[in-house]
């Protein structure tokens, strides 16, 4: 019987600081054993448990796209109270950690094909949406999806993550990027200024044959859904990704449930329609 609690060793290849506050870093990880790499097949929206021996584990969404074959990327925010994230942020390229996964249901790619996509991200929750965006923009995949709009908001220009990637995407003509900040912080900012739900109402994208995918702090998602519904998006076509305190990641330890659903196993991706049928306990 295989043991799902054993972490697979990976080496940190590269660390990139994503924001001005320097508490969000993207880690490029490479499996020490090629066999583990071959078995680690994931879809956008899934997560893995990052394991540091002697410290603990933390569930983090996978930021790289399945089309990236050499490494797996995770974007991790350091929390003051976070034991694992604090330790992780003190590591260097060459250090070895572990990952377990991939876990979770991920975004249902097949159901997104043939539709327009409205991708809405807030703060560093853009991470699994970045996986999805990279995937759909890949030349092998792009033609299966129609128009793509990415609306991304952060607290300030310094807090925008994946800056160089977003610049690259902005130059393309097969995706439309709308960036917004809560406060331009006195900087030379050419994007929008305003909270994501307000910018959404302003831009009023069409809901015709469109699927919305929203990831962000819960309060942002809560206020983004009503304008989406007003624009004509139906609950079955609004996707979001939830977070919970997790330990096992495989639906056994009983911790991350909302109602009868485990966020680690039946989620973390849920449609708004599913959320409506679940107890209000986030």
């Amino acid at each position: 019987m295989s043991n799902p609690y054993l972490p697979l060793p990976v080496t940190i290849k590269k660390i990139m600081v994503e924001n001005e506050a320097r508490d969000i870093k993207t880690f490029d990880l490479k499996f020490n054993d090629k066999k583990d790499a071959d078995k680690f097949k994931y879809t956008c929206g899934q997560f893995a448990e990052i394991s540091i021996l002697g410290v603990g584990e933390a569930p983090v969404g996978i930021a790289s796209s399945p089309m990236d074959e050499d490494f797996v990327q995770f974007t991790v925010k350091k929390y003051q109270t976070g034991v694992v994230t604090s330790h992780l942020h003190n590591l260097y390229p060459g250090d070895v950690i572990g990952i377990r996964g991939p876990y979770g249901n991920g975004f249902p790619i097949k159901d997104l094909e043939g539709s327009n996509l409205l991708i809405i991200g807030g703060g560093f929750a853009l991470t699994t949406l970045r996986s999805l965006t990279k995937y759909v923009l890949h030349k092998k995949n792009r033609e299966r999806f129609k128009d793509i709009n990415l609306l991304y908001g952060a607290r300030g220009p310094g807090e925008i993550i994946y800056k160089s990637e977003i610049d690259e995407w902005d130059k393309r003509d097969d995706i439309n990027i709308i960036l917004t900040v809560d406060d331009r912080c006195g900087l030379d900012w050419r994007g929008c200024v305003g909270l994501v739900p307000n910018i959404l109402k302003e831009k009023a994208p069409s809901s015709n044959n469109c699927i919305a995918l929203v990831c962000g702090p819960f309060i942002m998602v809560k206020y983004t859904i009503p304008p989406l519904l007003d624009l004509g998006f139906v609950p079955e076509k609004i996707f979001t990704s939830l977070e919970m305190r997790m330990k096992c990641g495989i639906g056994k330890c009983g911790r991350c449930n909302i109602g009868s659903k485990y966020v680690c196993k039946d989620g973390p991706v849920f449609t708004y329609k599913e959320l409506q049928g679940m107890p209000n306990e986030y």
């Binding site: 295989s2 609690y5 002697g54 929390y79 056994k252 449930n257």
Partner: protein, 352 residues
């Protein structure tokens, strides 16, 4: 059970039988401990506590230990899988478990099994375990197994069921594993006589009548489907201290935590020595669902009590088709503020 063939053995011969298989099995029996009963490995010269009502701590700790090493790690960050193998690779024998607790084992099996992920620690132990249940002659005042498809001689979860007739013990095989077990040890048994069987039937009738607690939970799952926002949750938790005793003693509670421990002398090393440990946890504790951001989806006793009841009587039936309660009464007996889950269920059942 009408057509079951029963074997008989003198009670005083049981210890010798168990001694004869001690090389092959880790044998867990109920023994007396500080005025209570607890399952522990049978030691030479020790006696089985035949008249025990039920153990304080449920025997789930045999298959799902309170603390368990998942793996250890050391120099070079190498991971060594720890103790899922039973001590010395021997089989396990759980002897004299009550039918309610045996039924709980069959419920725990569902949790640790799974199409996508299996828990090797529990399952490998379960595979090498033979369960011999002991039917109840004297149910306790707070036993309510009959409200949950149980009874003093329920067979669910056991391989063999025993009946204590006084000097004699009757044994009936429940599963193929149980049949083989009895066959291998045939020389210890003789065929049970008609009088033995009549005596057993009488004992069980009397025993069944002793269970006076009746809780109508036929439709509790359906009732709770619509009760998440009900106002009774505001009252139902009020006595609760959050001590977690109910979850620790409950034979079907299975929530756990995973933490890392380091050998102190290696604490400053880049590759410390230590182990990753799994241990029992409780949904009744506030940190159970606390996020690193400080947000807690279950911030007060109300949400946590609701979770406990919903998990056992609504979410598990939804996911596994079974209520995760066997009516053993441990939570009723041991709650320091006398919260009685039977009263709660009756209240919920009749609340609008």
């Amino acid at each position: 059970m009408e057509n079951k063939k029963f074997k008989a053995i003198k009670k005083k011969d049981i210890l010798k039988l168990l001694e004869s298989i001690a090389e092959e099995y880790n044998i867990f029996v109920p023994v007396e401990e500080n005025g209570d009963a607890r399952f522990s490995v049978l030691k030479p010269g020790q006696d089985i506590y035949w008249d025990y009502r039920n153990t304080k701590i449920s025997p789930k700790e045999i298959l799902f230990p309170q603390t368990e090493t998942l793996f250890s790690f050391g120099e070079g960050a190498e991971v060594k899988t720890g103790g899922s193998a039973a001590a010395g690779g021997k089989e396990y024998l759980i002897f004299g478990i009550r039918p309610c607790d045996a039924q709980a084992i069959s419920l725990l099996n569902k949790v640790f099994e799974g199409e996508d992920f299996k828990d090797p620690y529990y399952l490998e132990r379960r595979k090498k375990t033979t369960v011999i249940a002991l039917a109840c002659n004297k149910p306790q005042i707070d036993c309510f197994c009959t409200s949950l498809n149980g009874k003093p001689d329920n067979e669910e979860g056991s391989d063999i069921i025993l009946f204590d007739l006084g000097e004699d013990i009757l044994a009936g095989a429940v599963t193929k594993k149980g049949e083989k077990f009895i066959e291998k040890l045939n020389k210890w048994f003789k065929e049970a006589g008609k009088q033995d069987i009549t005596k057993k039937d009488k004992l069980m009738d009397l025993s069944l009548k002793k269970i006076q607690s009746q809780v109508d939970i036929q439709n509790i799952k359906e009732k709770l489907d619509n009760d998440f926002g009900a106002s009774f949750w505001n009252e139902i938790h009020q006595k609760c201290l959050g001590c977690g005793i109910c979850t620790y003693l409950c034979p079907t509670c299975h929530c756990f935590d995973i933490t890392d421990e380091i050998n102190p002398e290696t604490a400053d090393s880049k590759t410390p020595k230590g182990r990753r440990v799994r241990c029992w946890d409780s949904c009744m504790y506030p940190l159970f669902t606390m996020h690193a951001s400080g947000h807690n989806p279950r911030p007060t006793f109300k949400e946590r009590m609701r979770q406990r009841i919903m998990h056992k009587f609504n979410y598990c039936p939804e996911n596994f088709g079974e209520i995760f309660c066997v009516g053993c009464g441990r939570c009723v007996r041991n709650c320091p503020v006398n919260i009685d889950i039977r009263e709660m269920l009756i209240y919920i059942g009749s609340a609008k």
